[in-house]
Every structure is written in structure tokens, then in C-alpha cells.
């Protein structure tokens, strides 16, 4: 076997933490990781947040973000240990031999400069190409990555292209100096599924054509399965499993990998729609103040007691706006909301305390949905005090019950949100809404900020609570796997309209309308060759049309 392009041995990475009131001390983030990467191969690094995958990716460029330090080990790139070479040599490496594609292209491009100028900067700066050569190469790459009008797109500014296009521009930026290796750090995570698939296909093709090696970092096993030759599963800074992509997804050895592969395997029996909807919105049309554009037009859906209605759509489809209309934060222009047999006032101020109590909401970002200066006990206790007038021992007893219901002990009563993990925070938010004994809970992307295994736990909890309390969920999400796991009926939204609505079994069964078809076929599936198959299907369809 040839000498690998990148060879990492016993890599240890640490950081100094400064907890208030305590002495600063060092913690280890990555405890000794080894891997090899051959020329032209792709290694997928996968793990939950905090697994150290981005840290390892950056270490391949001899870089530690923030206060992060590489404490031990060797990183060999092109036959030299880059942790021991001079700063000048590292500078030649970064952006020359090894380049980086970050998660948010929008935050990484300078909004004040044209795209072309930024794409060729590294190649020209490292003296690899002259300006005109680099531009020719960039245009070539733009074409290869499937960007429209490759000749001229470089003259645009970052805000003049879409998010998916910008992510592809960033890939062009990384490939422009002809690097030996590219580090992709969650390049498609911030994109909608229908955009993700195009970017993914473009990246894959570009990697194949240029013969570059890549480290592909992501938390989504289905995505990484499409693109990498080998996969390394990481957890808490340690390697859990390493193997061929085929072996990892079809025959994982470790329990943790098995759990990752089989995630979202919740089996949920669909309930038939009842007769009396607890919440029904009819012909809602809404726009934001000062705009002349309807964010929602003519939306009507029904939610039955004890059931789950999933609102599915991509960003900008108006699904969160629908939640704002229902909660009264955004009075609609037309249409009305019926709740428990009564018409709700359009504005929040016109609703009675009982109406407010029976309609609760859980947010996407649990950490900003809770006041960071209130303890868990105060957060959960406030609705009890506010709606039911509970005080003292009785309130405490009920808080304990609720903590029990969300599978957390009473040890958490005096904790602050900052002392909880992401999943625990979301559980506390669920407890807060349950405390009001609501009939309907609006769940706005409640699992999308969580790691897959944690999200799974939250979904299971929600289903159990639904059974126990007979509460109905209006479940807003962009993730179809979540929908399959939890919904009884589904409304698919696109550009402010409901394009498909009905019981789950009908909505997810053919014949599909164009948009639902596109959406469903874009959800990454955990098998080899899925990406090629979908792309081939689409090409055939467009050729057939």
C-alpha cells in the first residue's frame, strides 16, 4: 500500500475551561484518534454534537479553534508532521494543500466582495495560479458544480445567490487551489432537503473528477453513506467504530453505531380522524406588517383531540407563521381559528386565560425558550402558579410529578438551564407546557436542534405523554422521518399554501403531486447508491418530459 496522504496517530486535543468561581483547568476533547486517508478517498467522520468531529477536522490543518490546543499526537500530511513544522510551512499548507468548507457559507463569505474574488484568493495568494488562470479554473469548477451561468456567477455578491448555490461556491473556493485534501464540515446541514440533494451530488461529482481526498464531517449517517468510502464513528472524543461505508451501515458492530443506524424506528399506529376537531383553522391568509406579500394564503387544517397533525415544509413555506397566527401573535388578514368549539380572538390580547392555558407551545431552541436566570423549578412552577394558583408544598409536589413525567428526577429543581443538556432542556420545555394541562401543544421544530438519538427520546416521550394526557400536537417540522414517526395526519406546505393534506397513510402513498414527490425523494436514505439512483431518476424524468 502506498504511503497515505494523511496519517493521524494518537491525536489528543484539549482545551482550558474557565468555570466561574473555580480554578481554570484543562479538559480533553479528543482522546487519541488514529486514521489514514489515501489519495482520492473520502473519510466520513460522524458523531453527535460534542463528539469532537469538527475539532479533528480542523486538526488536519493544524488548527485549534478558540482556546483549543492539540496536546499530543502526530498529523502527517504529504510526508511531514504538520504539528512539528514551522508556522510558515503551515501557512503554505492551509488553503493550499488542505482547504476547508464550513457549515454556513453565508457566514463565511465576505458580503462586501464579489464571489470570484474570494474563490480565487487562496489559489492566487499561494502562488499556484496567476489571476487569469485561477479564474478559468474557477469557472470550470462552477460549471462542474452545476451552478447556473458559470461564466458570470462569480461577478455576483454572496447575497445574490441562494443558500445552496453559495454552498457550492464555497466548494469551488476550496477546490480552486488544487488541494490534496478538503475538509467538509457539515456542508449540507443548514440546507433544505431538496437543496441538500443537489449540493451533495455536486460535491460528490467534484470530488470524483478532481481526485481530491476529503474528510466529510456530519451528524447524518444517511448523508455520509452517500459520499464516503470509509466511515469513522466518534463519541465523546473517542473512536467507536471504523470501517467501510457498506459495513458500517449494513453490519455495524458496536451498539452505539447500531443505535445510530436504526434511529427513527418508532412505530406509530395512525389514528383515524375523529368528528369534532379541537383546533381548526379555516381559510387563513396572513402577511407581516409592512409587506405586500401573503406568507400564508387560504390555509385550512383540522386537528383532532389526542392526535398529531404534522405541518411539513421547507424553510420559507410559512409553517412557523401558521403557528404565530394560531397563537395570536400575528392576527390574520382573513380566516378564523376555532378552538374547542369556540372562535378564538385574532389577537392575543382578546383571549381569555383559559384559552391561553389550553393552547401551549414548545419551541425549536430550548435554550432561548427558557429564561436563563430562572431555575427549572421556577420555569415549570410558574404556569402552575399562574393558571391554577398553586403555592408552596402543593406546587412542589406537582413540579415533582411533572419532572417524573419527563423522566428527570427532582434533583433538577434547583438547576439553571445552562446546567442542562440539549435534550434535558427540551424536556423541561415540554414539562412547562404540560403544567398548564393544555388541549393542544404546538411543537415548532422541537427536535431539529437535537442529536438524532436525543431527538428519538423526545419523540417517544411526546407520544407517551399524548397517550397519558390525551393532548393533541400540531407538529411543525421539515424532517419527514420525524413526521413518519409521530403524525396521524399531515399537511404539506409550499410557498404559503397547503399542497397536500390528509391522513398519514394517504399523504405518504402515491400518486404524489410534484412537490411532495420531490420532497419525499430528497430525504436521504441509509443505503449505498441512493444518491445516484435519485439523480438518475430525475434526469430520466426531465428527459422524458
Amino acid at each position: 500500500m502506498n504511503e497515505p496522504l494523511v496519517k493521524v496517530r494518537g491525536l489528543k486535543i484539549g482545551a482550558t475551561v474557565y468555570p466561574p468561581g473555580e480554578k481554570p483547568h484543562d479538559i480533553a476533547i479528543v482522546h487519541g484518534v488514529d486514521f489514514d486517508l489515501q489519495k482520492g478517498q473520502v473519510l466520513g467522520l460522524i458523531g453527535e454534537s460534542g463528539a469532537g468531529k469538527s475539532t479533528i477536522g480542523l486538526a488536519a490543518m493544524a488548527y485549534g479553534r478558540g482556546g483549543v490546543k492539540i496536546t499530543a499526537g502526530e498529523v502527517w500530511v504529504n510526508g511531514r508532521d504538520i504539528l512539528k513544522t514551522s508556522l510558515k510551512d503551515i501557512r503554505a499548507l492551509r488553503g493550499g494543500e488542505v482547504t476547508y468548507v464550513s457549515q454556513s457559507a453565508a457566514a463565511s463569505f465576505n458580503p462586501a466582495k464579489q464571489i470570484m474574488e474570494q474563490v480565487i484568493e487562496a489559489a492566487v495568494g499561494h502562488g499556484k495560479f496567476s489571476k487569469s488562470q485561477a479564474e478559468t479554473r474557477a469557472i470550470d469548477l462552477f460549471a462542474k458544480l452545476g451552478l447556473p451561468d458559470p461564466e458570470n456567477i462569480g461577478k455576483r455578491y454572496p447575497h445574490q445567490v441562494s443558500g445552496g448555490q453559495l454552498q457550492r461556491c464555497m466548494t469551488a473556493l476550496a477546490l480552486c487551489p488544487e488541494p490534496d485534501m478538503v475538509v467538509f464540515d457539515e456542508p449540507t446541514t443548514a440546507l433544505d432537503v431538496t437543496t441538500q440533494i443537489d449540493v451533495l451530488a455536486a460535491i460528490k461529482e467534484a470530488i470524483r473528477d478532481t481526485g481530491v481526498a476529503a474528510l466529510y464531517i456530519t451528524h447524518d449517517l444517511a448523508v455520509v453513506a452517500q459520499i464516503s468510502d470509509h466511515i469513522m464513528v466518534l463519541r465523546h472524543g473517542e473512536m467507536v467504530e471504523y470501517g467501510d461505508t457498506g459495513q458500517i451501515i449494513s453490519a455495524p458492530k458496536e451498539d452505539y453505531t447500531k443505535a445510530l443506524v436504526s434511529v427513527r424506528s418508532i412505530d406509530h399506529q395512525e389514528k383515524p380522524p375523529g368528528t369534532d376537531p379541537v383546533l381548526s383553522v379555516t381559510n387563513i391568509t396572513a402577511r407581516y406588517k409592512g409587506t405586500k406579500f401573503d406568507v400564508l394564503s387560504d390555509v385550512s387544517v383540522d386537528l383532532y383531540p389526542g392526535q398529531t397533525l404534522a405541518i411539513v415544509g421547507e424553510s420559507g413555506s410559512g409553517k412557523s407563521t401558521l403557528a404565530r397566527v394560531i397563537t395570536g401573535l400575528l392576527p390574520p388578514r382573513e380566516g378564523q381559528t376555532n378552538f374547542a368549539g369556540q372562535t378564538l380572538s385574532d389577537a392575543l390580547a382578546g383571549r381569555s386565560r383559559d384559552e391561553l392555558r389550553e393552547l401551549q407551545m414548545i419551541y425549536q431552541m430550548a435554550d432561548v425558550a427558557m429564561n436563563p436566570r430562572q431555575t427549572v423549578g421556577t420555569i415549570i412552577g410558574r404556569p402552575l402558579e399562574f393558571y391554577f394558583g398553586l403555592r408552596g408544598a402543593e406546587k412542589k409536589r406537582r413540579i415533582r410529578e411533572l419532572l417524573d413525567a419527563i423522566e428527570m428526577g427532582d434533583g433538577f429543581i434547583d438547576r439553571y438551564p445552562a446546567e442542562l443538556s440539549g435534550g434535558q432542556k427540551q424536556r423541561v420545555c415540554i414539562a412547562r407546557s404540560l403544567a398548564a394541562k393544555p388541549k393542544v401543544i404546538i411543537c415548532d421544530e422541537v427536535t431539529s436542534a437535537l442529536d438524532p438519538l436525543v431527538a428519538d427520546g423526545i419523540l417517544k416521550l411526546l407520544l407517551e405523554l399524548q397517550k397519558a394526557e390525551n393532548v393533541a400536537y400540531l407538529f411543525i417540522t421539515h424532517d419527514l422521518a420525524t413526521v413518519r414517526a409521530i403524525a396521524d395526519s399531515i399537511a404539506v406546505m409550499y410557498q404559503g399554501r397547503v399542497v397536500r393534506y390528509g391522513p398519514k397513510s394517504k399523504v405518504l402513498a402515491p400518486p404524489f403531486d410534484d412537490y411532495t414527490d420531490l420532497l419525499l425523494s430528497s430525504v436521504p436514505e441509509m443505503r449505498l447508491g441512493w444518491l445516484e439512483q435519485v439523480i438518475a431518476n430525475r434526469k430520466m424524468e426531465s428527459a422524458g418530459n
Partner: protein, 271 residues
């Protein structure tokens, strides 16, 4: 109270010392405030630790009584400016709309007039008593606090937890004092240290110009004024208040820094 850093310790002890001396002035000062005890501008000696002033009063005693007046006025004015400024600023941020417009534009209007000139005009028509001084200084300064409180609260008011409180049906006062105030405290505390010092300077300036504390009452600005002619003859009496103001400002800010560090910890500042 363990784990106090050294800088905060120094700040606390000096601030404490100044406040202690201010409160117990009559028992600490060796002579009376307006008592003429010696010759004009005597140098410091065992009898008069800091020497005597322009008409032969003991400078140390004047400084102690003067500090009492200065610190009292500055403290009261700071409290007044923070309660009005922060409350109105929070109300403006949470209510938005015309309430915000009305309050903010009014504050802009007041701020467009230089505050020293505004204070001089008001004080030249009003009787100059301690209460009037506190009122004028506090209200003028509350415009600055208003701007800060509003700017901080506007960011907090759009957080999901505030929206959650609104959806729960909470009243304005709960949202202001329970949801927003605890999260706005850090910048406000930092500002409070700074504002207190500005108040000390403000009242000293007014007294120096003759529109602040009236003689024979002593305050630090007044002492500078009375002794400023001595500087020409190499008599350092006017520098004593300057030194006092400088040490007080530094020590108060050291304390404010420490409080700031404690309150920014999201784990309840229990560390």
C-alpha cells in the same frame, strides 16, 4: 463571600472606607466643618494632617464632611436615575409602538441639550437645595440609563422565553421585572458604577461653578474652588479632593467589575 479576587478586595475596602467615613463623619473629623482653627494655608502637621484651607479651616475635616455630602448626593441621584431610567426603558422596549416612540423621542429631545448647561439653567431659577440637586441630576442622567436599558431590553424582548411569557398571558410588570430585568442586570450594574462616578464629577462641577452645594456646607467640588488660588503659590490643598475623587472612582469600578463577573454567570452566580 469566598473567592473574592484581589482587585475586588481593594475596591471593596476603599469604597467601604469612603462610605464609612461619610456616614460617621461627625465622629471621625477632628474639627468642625466650618470651624476656623488656624492660619491660612498652613502646611500639614501633626495638628492638621492635611494642613488648613484658604480661611484657616482644617482641610481633613472639610474633606470628610465634603465627602459625606458628595457621596450622599451622588448615591441618591444614581438610585433615582436608575429606577426611572431603567423602568421607562424597559416599558418602552416591551410595549413598542407609540409608547416607545413617545418616550424615546422625548429622551432624545432632553439629550440634545448639553446636560451641564441644562442643569445650570434649571438651578439658576430653582432654589439650590440638596433635594433639588438630586432631582435635577438624577432626572437628567436617567436619559442615559433609559437609552441603555431600552437597547438591552429590546434584544431580550424578542427572545422566545419572553414570547412564552406573553403567550402564557403574563402582565407587563411580570415581563419587565421577572423575565427582562434579571437578564439585563449585568450591563446595568456595570453602567451603575460608571454613572455613580459621573454623578460625583457632576456635583463637583456644579459646586465648583457655584451652583451646587452652597457654602459654608463643604463638598469636594467646593473645596477645589475655595483652594484653587493656592495652586499658584505651590499649596496643594486643591489636589486633595481630586485625589479623593480619583481613588473613589477606581475603587467603585473595581467593585462593579466584580459584581458584573458574578452576575454574568448563567449558573445563578453561585460560583
Amino acid at each position: 463571600m469566598k473567592n473574592i479576587p484581589i482587585s475586588a478586595m481593594i475596591g471593596l475596602s476603599f469604597t467601604g472606607l469612603y462610605f464609612f467615613v461619610a456616614i460617621f463623619a461627625p465622629w471621625i473629623a477632628p474639627y468642625g466643618m466650618a470651624e476656623v482653627v488656624g492660619d491660612v494655608w498652613e502646611p500639614s502637621s501633626a495638628k492638621y494632617l492635611l494642613g488648613t484651607d484658604s480661611i484657616g479651616r482644617d482641610l481633613l475635616s472639610r474633606m470628610i464632611y465634603g465627602g459625606r455630602t458628595t457621596i450622599f448626593i451622588a448615591t441618591m441621584a444614581t438610585i433615582l436615575s436608575f429606577t426611572t431610567g431603567a423602568t421607562l426603558g424597559f416599558i418602552a422596549a416591551v410595549s413598542g409602538g407609540w409608547v416607545d416612540q413617545l418616550l424615546s423621542r422625548f429622551v432624545d429631545l432632553i439629550m440634545s441639550i448639553p446636560s451641564l448647561i441644562f442643569a445650570l439653567v434649571v438651578l439658576s431659577v430653582m432654589p439650590v437645595t440638596v433635594n433639588v440637586l438630586i432631582l435635577v441630576m438624577g432626572l437628567l442622567d436617567s436619559t442615559r440609563v433609559f437609552r441603555l436599558a431600552r437597547a438591552v431590553a429590546v434584544d431580550i424582548a424578542v427572545m422566545d422565553y419572553v414570547e412564552a411569557a406573553r403567550l402564557r398571558g403574563e402582565k407587563l410588570l411580570w415581563i419587565i421585572f421577572r423575565e427582562i430585568l434579571p437578564n439585563a442586570l449585568s450591563p446595568l450594574v456595570a453602567e451603575m458604577g460608571l454613572r455613580f462616578i459621573f454623578m460625583v464629577l457632576f456635583v463637583s462641577t456644579l459646586s465648583f461653578l457655584g451652583l451646587g452645594v452652597q457654602p459654608p456646607q463643604a463638598d469636594w467640588g467646593g473645596i477645589v474652588k475655595e483652594n484653587k488660588d493656592g495652586i499658584v503659590y505651590g499649596i496643594p490643598a486643591a489636589l486633595a479632593p481630586a485625589f479623593a475623587i480619583a481613588t473613589l472612582s477606581i475603587s467603585v469600578n473595581l467593585v462593579a467589575d466584580w459584581v458584573l463577573n458574578r452576575t454574568t454567570s448563567l449558573k445563578g452566580g453561585r460560583g
